[in-house]
Amino acid sequence: MKKWLLLLLSVVMIFTVFTGCSSEPAADSNNSQNEQEGGKKVIVVGLQAEPTSLDAHQISDYNSSRAAMEIYDQLVQFKDESTELEPDLAEKWDVSDDGMEYTFYLKKDIKFHDGTPFNAEAVKFSIERQIDPDHPYHDTGQFAYAEFTFGPVDRVEVVDDYTVKIYLKEPFAPFLSNMAMHAASIVSPEAVKKYGKDFSRNPVGTGPYKYVRWDPGVEVVLEKNPDYFKGEPKVDQLIFKPITDDQTRLAELEAGNLDLIVNVTPDDLVRLKEDGNFQVIEQAGMHVWWTAFNTQKEPFNNKKVRQAINYAVNKEAIVNEILKGTGELANSPLPPTVWGHNPNVKNYEYNPEKARQLLEEAGYPNGFEATYWIPESGSGMQQPATMAAAIQADLAKVGIELNIQTLEWGSYLDKVFVPPSENDMDMHQMSWIGDNGDPDNFLYILLSSEQWPTAGFNDAYYKNERVDELLSQARVTSDKEKRTQMYEEAQEIIMEDAPWIVLDHEKQIVIAQKNIKNFKLHPTGVFRFSNVDVE
């Protein structure tokens, strides 16, 4: 008996080492790496996975763009914390009256990191490399975003060393926003010629940071470009470490080995906010999450039914209780960080009484049964199963019985994005992450009847003639004020028609050590370090 007691005690003691110790953080947040190497200022960033390429033209994921985009500049860039545009490598630009010709006047005396000059030829090279299959360096990569970014481009003309003209096939107002995207980065033509396919591991641009090395699976290291044309950055070195496991990444931050991480789980976020040992920097991203109705099928072709469901779902509870503040309640399909967002439209409040009344008016006093498709997981889908269960419970209260069907993401997309004649869908979940910060990239692509699958992503098969007219016109109008008005009106009609349950905009959340100063999030998800400092 005594032996067993002794044994039990020993086991308990071993386990206390792991769990018991103390609840206070062992390392105080100031012993981070950032001043380690000989007084140099260093920021260590924890990425979710290894970057796949540092070639701006080949990037299609956040981990790569976060590690790579400080190496490059574009002709125009997004302003801090918004998707409005400002000059970058171009001093100014003209758009012809018919919206078909864009002339960019380039800044002079800028050099790439390899010492070669930045000029109009480099701009032409950077675009043609991606879109011209006969270009001698087209085979140096796979350009996933070339079609999206330069689809409207007819040709690029070098007028003189510092003037470049881009001709479009047809007027396309969002084009200027495309020129601020990562695929529109200007790369060093000499470096592409020298490294060929390996340019993605030897990137050369004009940006605030230069590439130093990439130890696969370990880290990507950049150092500051002292000759940066907008001024020398304050931080000497940036290190990006891929740490796939969420808990490990957080532990490394808490131990002070990382300065900045993304994506903590909702529960950890609550704890970190309460602790107050770190900065929690958050902003609604270019994202929207919704549940689409099949507006071409009974009973969802009845506006009152769609509105009733919207009243029946407690959206605020989902955002607060399930997402725990990792999303921002939406009032429109367009995120507030994108210009053209209409702050005056209202989302449907939680009102089951009103929902029942509307269902009765629509001829369904006892509700009905419907199928609700959801994916297991998927980019931007947040927590599909838990959110679906909450919606299912809310709708049960007004007599609508939802049968949830779960599919793997790839097969899910194949099932959702088919023409309406082939689709027996009732309701399903979907989300969208914006590309170029233009309202067209949300509203036209997701809600114009010209964009019914497979042409586009209008997965509710929504059709409203006035909305179609507004969205099509806004695409070819250059005047931004007029476009804003059109988008604002379209949002009013869309929210009234209720083709979706519009739920939330997922926030980008960065947890940083307290001594990191001036770090601002950008809606496009890239990290900007040129104005960041370490105290």
């Binding site: 044994l7 699976g217 808490e254 194949d414």
Partner: protein, 315 residues
């Protein structure tokens, strides 16, 4: 002996072919169109079609397989879709890290497994035996990723004795730094195998310790340590070697989870990211590589038997 080795080497070919067919089918039967996963849901039908042609995805599956296996024999393992690099150099580059981790774990598992097994057997049915067996049971039952997280929180975060994750390539910051990063992942990985080896050693030793020659050895006045570790252990070793050989393969595969938890830059992390991105040339390459390593190690273990036990002969 030479004839035996040659026969075994020839027998490897159908085994490896079977593995390649299996892996290839799994990758191509798994749901989701690789082209769509690579280019994202926003890609146009034209660019999807172009990519499918480029990757040979439009060909019938058996033709794709023949094309791939033909190239593998020529030394061309294809190009990773996601990382845009040649697969074989990529694997070899990362395999070093996995090898370091696996070797350290095998060492730990074998050393402590055999030591604990022998002690437990020599002190059978006592408190020491029961205590060791309990520890071993816990080690065996604990999932590696869970143990890994506990070790990280305990020794990395709370006590701040050892690094939580990561690794520096040997040579970059010296062997000391590498060793410090290696300790926690190696312990996590070795726990399960160490437990199996310990139990195997214990039961094998118990059997041997009952033999007459052991009693004779004691009767001759030889010290207990010598009897147990020299006379008994040598004969208890054969089944232990079998288990050890099998555990090497298990550890190579099990390293995947530990590598993820500890951000260890080996082929495990490479493979997981490859699977998520449907990077089939990379995943096929890694599995073929690991399978080859596994069967070669098994062969080596069989050969080692003959040296350890003169009664075993392969002629």
């Amino acid at each position: 002996m030479a004839g035996y080795i040659l026969r075994r080497l020839v027998a490897l070919i159908p085994v490896l072919l079977g593995v390649t067919i299996l892996v290839f089918s799994i990758m191509h039967l798994s749901p989701g169109d690789p082209a769509k996963i690579i280019l994202g849901p926003k890609a146009t039908e034209e660019s999807l079609q172009q990519l499918r042609t480029e990757l040979g995805l439009n060909l019938p599956v058996h033709e794709q397989y023949l094309r791939w296996i033909g190239n593998v024999f020529k030394g061309d393992w294809g190009r990773s879709i996601q990382l845009k690099m040649e697969v074989l150099p990529l694997i070899l580059d990362r395999f070093g890290a996995t090898l370091i981790l696996t070797a350290a774990s095998i060492f730990l598992a074998a050393f402590f497994g055999i030591l604990f097994g022998v002690i437990a057997a020599a002190r059978k049915y006592t408190f020491v035996d029961r205590f060791l067996m309990l520890i071993i049971l816990i080690g065996f039952c604990m999932p590696v990723f869970w143990l890994g997280i506990l070790l990280q929180i305990g020794f990395g975060l709370k006590l701040d004795w050892l690094p939580i994750s990561g690794m520096y390539p040997p040579g970059e910051r010296g062997a000391g730094e590498l060793l410090k990063h290696l300790i926690l992942p190696a312990i996590s990985l070795s726990m399960g195998s160490g437990a199996i080896i310990a139990r195997m050693t214990r039961s094998s030793m118990l059997e041997v310790l009952d033999h007459d020659y052991i009693r004779t050895a004691y009767a001759k006045g030889i010290r207990e340590r010598k009897v147990v570790f020299k006379h008994a252990l040598k004969n208890a070793f054969i089944p232990v070697i079998t288990v050890l050989g099998m555990q090497i393969g298990f550890l190579l595969a099990g390293a995947v989870l530990v590598e993820i938890v500890f951000s260890w830059p080996g082929i495990g992390t490479l493979m997981i990211n490859g699977i998520l991105a449907r990077d089939f040339p990379l995943v096929q390459g890694i599995i073929l590589f690991v399978a080859t390593t596994y069967v070669v190690i098994n062969l080596l273990v069989d050969i080692i038997y003959a040296f350890l036990d003169p009664r075993i002969s392969y002629e």
